[in-house]
């Protein structure tokens, strides 16, 4: 203790320690600032990433669901909302032969009650591996055509072990694979063949969870890919007029809607960040100026003992850098923790595709938040530093004698 040389850094640390209340308060201000910067950045990045990821992989141009179920489909896809609905007719074959339709693949959704495995209700999704072109794109490393009866692929947020079992409606299902993050409702879904899914419906009817559908070959939605030239909106109109008991979701429109929401959220985030930046600069500047004023005597004495004004400025900047770096680190750590712990909740409550960026981009974002905090600190102390550089020394010492 006290053996070290009195470098600018050591002196700055001693000063900060002695004024611990002021130091802690300033660290909190910087921490809040970097917290919001990092959260905001991560949020907007995750949303953009989620959106791009989704639009790149959906593959379907339009999705056909029972009349009045368009929103349910969206919520199933985006909010991990658990839904059950049936298309009353076996449309798959009729649609697949319609002109302009390249591929049509049925999916069957069965909403489960809160299952033991998960914090949100799990959606059971039956798909047809032979015609599927949507689910497949999330199963790059899994051969979905080999999915047997009673076997499932679980989403990343379903708490199940590979090779283990998950139970729904009293039926055990074998987990043969796990999906990577999709940033969508798929993360809390369990995928199985149509055959398995239809068996599960029967099980759910026996468990009196879901009403019986009519007909044996239940499906909930038909994902349709059109041949290149076809206009999705036109095709949608045509289908609705032909099958009035259906609703058609056009992916382009859905993505457009998501984009708009995304922009609104981004604008809001930027607005909050900008506002907070101004508030932070003001708060820090006022505190630095007031405290530099109170410390005039101290600075004057340092000058009297032979400090150059440069050294004095260096000392002041060192103190501020320490505060900003500590504050920013606290803020970023708190933000990473919260954003990671609550990523599911955030994604679900926003109802938008949400895909957290890789560790690498998160680190870059953290570094940017840190730099921004340091920059903010330096900006805020400029005024007080300039004032110190100009005041007459003796006057400085006198003022607090």
């Amino acid at each position: 203790m006290g053996k070290q040389r009195l470098t600018t850094f050591a002196l700055a640390v001693k000063n900060l320690r002695k004024r611990s209340f002021r130091t802690k308060s300033l660290i909190v201000v910087v921490a809040v600032f970097s917290f919001v910067m990092f959260c905001g950045g991560l949020l907007t990045q995750s949303l953009s990433l989620g959106k791009n990821y989704m639009s790149g992989r959906m593959g379907a141009d339009i999705m056909i669901v029972p009349r009045g179920c368009a929103l349910s489909l969206q919520n199933t896809l985006l909010r991990s909302e658990s839904n059950t609905f049936y298309l009353n007719e076996n449309l798959a074959e009729e649609i697949s032969v319609m002109p302009g339709v390249e591929q049509a693949s049925p999916q069957l959704y069965i909403g489960s009650l809160n299952a033991a495995c998960c914090t949100v209700p799990v959606q059971l999704i039956g798909f047809d591996p032979e015609t599927d072109f949507t689910i497949k794109s999330w199963m790059k490393n899994i051969d979905s055509s080999k999915l047997g009866f009673g076997e499932v692929v679980t989403g990343s947020r379903v708490n199940a072990t590979l090779g283990g079992q998950v139970w729904f409606f009293g039926q055990p299902l074998k987990v043969v694979a796990k999906l990577n993050d999709t940033g969508m409702g798929f993360d809390s879904s369990v995928f199985m063949t149509l055959e398995t899914a239809q068996y599960m419906i029967k099980a759910s009817q026996e468990a009196a969870v879901h009403p019986a559908g009519n007909g044996k070959d239940h499906i909930s939605a038909l994902f349709v890919r059109l041949s290149g030239a076809e206009d999705a909106a036109e095709a949608a109109k045509l289908i609705i007029s032909k099958y009035p008991q259906t609703d058609v979701v056009v992916l382009k429109e859905m993505m457009l809607h998501i984009s708009t929401q995304l922009h609104n959220i981004k604008d809001l985030a930027y607005g909050i960040q900008g506002l907070l930046w101004i508030v932070s600069v003001l708060v820090l500047a006022v505190v630095f100026t007031v405290s530099a004023n109170e410390r005039k005597r101290e600075f004057g004495l340092l000058l009297a003992l032979g400090a150059t004004r440069k050294k004095l400025e260096g000392l002041l900047i060192a103190e501020i850098l320490i505060i900003c770096i500590l504050g920013a680190i606290c803020g970023v750590i708190a933000a990473s923790f919260i954003m990671y712990e609550f990523r599911m909740l955030i994604a679900v409550s926003l109802g938008l595709p949400y895909m957290q960026p890789s560790i690498g981009s998160a680190i870059i974002l953290a570094a940017v938040s840190l730099l921004l905090s340091v920059f903010t600190g330096v900006i805020s102390c400029l005024y007080s530093v300039i004032r110190i550089g100009r005041a007459e020394t003796q006057i400085m010492i006198r003022e607090y004698e």
């Binding site: 070290q4 009195l6 002196l11 001693k14 000058l303 009297a304 003992l305 032979g306 020394t393």
Partner: protein, 231 residues
């Protein structure tokens, strides 16, 4: 070694009046001198010392240190002079409250960018001042007299050519104050020039040149050029 030429400082007041605190002072202090200046409160003593210490800009006139004009130097050169040529003991409390006594004393070392951490030198000076036991305390835990002695130790830490002290014995009892004055005598006998300001007459028993300051003007009372027998 220290020469003041027509040194003047005018304080501007809020209204249009102004106040001349130091009025055309001339003095030539030689190396090894022990100069005592007495004067009543408000006579301009501190103002003069602050100008010499490089802390207060003169309105007119010159301060020459070893022939170099102090107030025409740049910030860096002046800081160097303040740091290592001049040891200044300001009037009143002058310790940094954030630092321990030991750190306060060795602070000028750091400001001179020395490699040494200055602890040994600082401890030796604290010992000379008989306050070595206070090294790890903070200024707020010291008495006025103790703080003054710390300030003197600090002024000496860089082996200055001249020691400038503004009422160095102000908070001390007779015995301690005599001890400090004897210390000044010893420092002076080691070749360090001393410029001392006070309003206590008995202190002028020390020193070979005594000046009196009144209303900003300096007048020599007597000058013992050769023998410095007074201490």
């Amino acid at each position: 070694m220290l020469e003041l030429k027509q040194l003047k400082r005018v304080y501007a007041s809020d209204d249009f009046s102004s106040f001349t605190a130091v009025d055309n002072v001339d003095i030539n202090i030689m190396t090894g001198d022990f100069v005592s200046i007495i004067g009543r409160s408000g006579s301009g003593k501190s103002t003069m010392l602050n100008m010499i210490a490089g802390l207060l800009r003169p309105t007119s006139g010159k301060i020459l240190i070893n022939g170099a004009d102090l107030w025409s130097m740049n910030d860096k050169d002046m800081a160097k002079i303040r740091n290592s040529k001049i040891g200044y003991v300001p009037q009143g409390l002058s310790l940094l409250s954030n630092l321990t006594i030991l750190d306060n004393v060795r602070l000028p070392f750091y400001l001179d960018k020395r490699k040494d951490n200055g602890i040994d030198r600082a401890k030796k000076l604290l010992e000379e001042m008989r306050i070595q036991s206070l090294a790890q305390r903070y200024p707020a835990q010291l008495s006025g007299g103790e703080m003054r002695r710390v300030a003197i130790a600090r002024a000496l830490v860089n082996n200055p050519e001249i020691l400038i002290a503004d009422e160095p014995t102000a908070d001390m009892d007779e015995e301690t104050s005599e001890e400090v004055m004897k210390l000044f005598g010893r420092i002076n006998s080691e070749g360090i020039t001393i410029l001392l300001v006070t309003h206590e007459y008995d202190i002028t028993n020390y020193g070979n040149r005594i000046y009196k300051m009144s209303s900003g003007k300096l007048a020599e009372k007597y000058h013992l050029s050769e023998s410095k027998t007074m201490y």
